[in-house]
Amino acid sequence: MNDITISIQDKTYRSGHLDDRQHQAIADLQLGVGRNEFVCLLGPSGCGKTTLLNMIAGLDSHYQGHIRIGSQAATAKIGYVFQNPRLLPWYTVRQNIEVVFAQTPPAALIDALLADMQLSDVQQVYPERLSLGMQRRVAIIRAFAINPDILLMDEPFVSLDAPSARQVRNLLYSLWQQRPHTVLFVSHDLREAIALADRLIFLSPPPMRIISDIPVNIPRELRNDEAQIEAFREHLLSQHPAINGLL
């Protein structure tokens, strides 16, 4: 039984250029995601990955097809980690997390998440005083905190230097293992995707469709092992040479 079912027949938008041509972003896309599954979407830049996430998040409803999340589609709770952290600069780290709750924010949970993401010391600091890596971690906490039906992550480690990206990635992975959620994670970094995901979905340039759907069978405890990741990657690329041209 899928937790999330995505079935898009057509997603077209105006280019916004002078010629005002219609661009088809998604032609036909069928995707099911299981409960607490971590799925990585990989594809060339501009293939419409962000558009797809926005559609799932309910920010974009101009498409033909349907997206079902859990049992209730319209009221589903979405935790969205955007490409930019999108924190409210006039609120502190803690206020930024608290503000997304409709009711009283759960203090104990927020304390625990801040500790997990190693941000307890800066919870009263304004986001603009933090590094990008720390801001990204706040955005990840914000998404986890509401206990969402689905977590959407749009390249949350992009433009971080390699050590920071790895640090945030490891923190995210251990957070997700402690608090499993259904995740759709957009990336264009194959190693990152292999280290995190249960499944890799490779997407074509627009109009977007699924090229291949590959399970990652590396055991959870070996996800930190660079050699394992590299071996899987080599094997994958030799089996599916088409992927090489995509990324």
Binding site: A57, R86, Y91, V100, R129, L152
Partner: protein, 253 residues
Amino acid sequence: MLTGIFKFNHTTITLLSLLVLLGIWQLAASVANSLTLPYPAHVAQVFWQATQSGELPYHLGVTLLRLLVSFSIAMVLGCAIGVMLGKNKTLDAFFDNWLVIFLNIPALVTIILCYVWFGLAESAAILAVVINKLPNVIVTIREGTRALDKDLLEMAESYRFERKKTFVHVIWPQLHPFVMAATRSGLALIWKIILVVELLGRSNGMGYQLHLFFQLFDVASLLAYTFAFVAVIQLIEWLLLRPLDRKALRWRR
């Protein structure tokens, strides 16, 4: 060594500069030796008498009340219309022409027309001030609304913020600098217009009094009232606007 001598703190410099201004005035008065340029001491005495008699506080109070009422109406209306025009391109394209016209009508014309059409009444006076101020507020808030961060609005939408919550937590903090700008420029503008409004059609308030002093050639009273006026404006800046700014902008780097 010279820089050492001139290293005063801010308060000292302020005091010194005001003292120098006072000195120049004193000097000019003694040179002119005329009733039309009274000595500072004389003006201070007139100020004290007018305050004691209650005349100055009464007229200043009346003007301040008019200011408060017309300013509040203009700000509330201006913010609402400004946000609307900033969000809706069609409405904006339609009303932009009106705005340009209203922005360019001289204040005096609006005042005269309001008195001609609605009579020499309090409501006509308030209306004249509001009409003069409103287009400025609308234009400023419209700019602020256009500059709203779409990323943050999307964030609010995906986390299912209700309209009110979005306004309080996401939109208002971004509009705040624009509202403050409209407040500052608005106060400066209204101060000036309200005196003309009173001069032309009211029988109390600062403008009325200034007109009276002009007819009597009473420069000492004129200056005394002016200083009271300037002092009140500065007090509003120090006690109200600056603390508001500080509170709202403490998150900035």
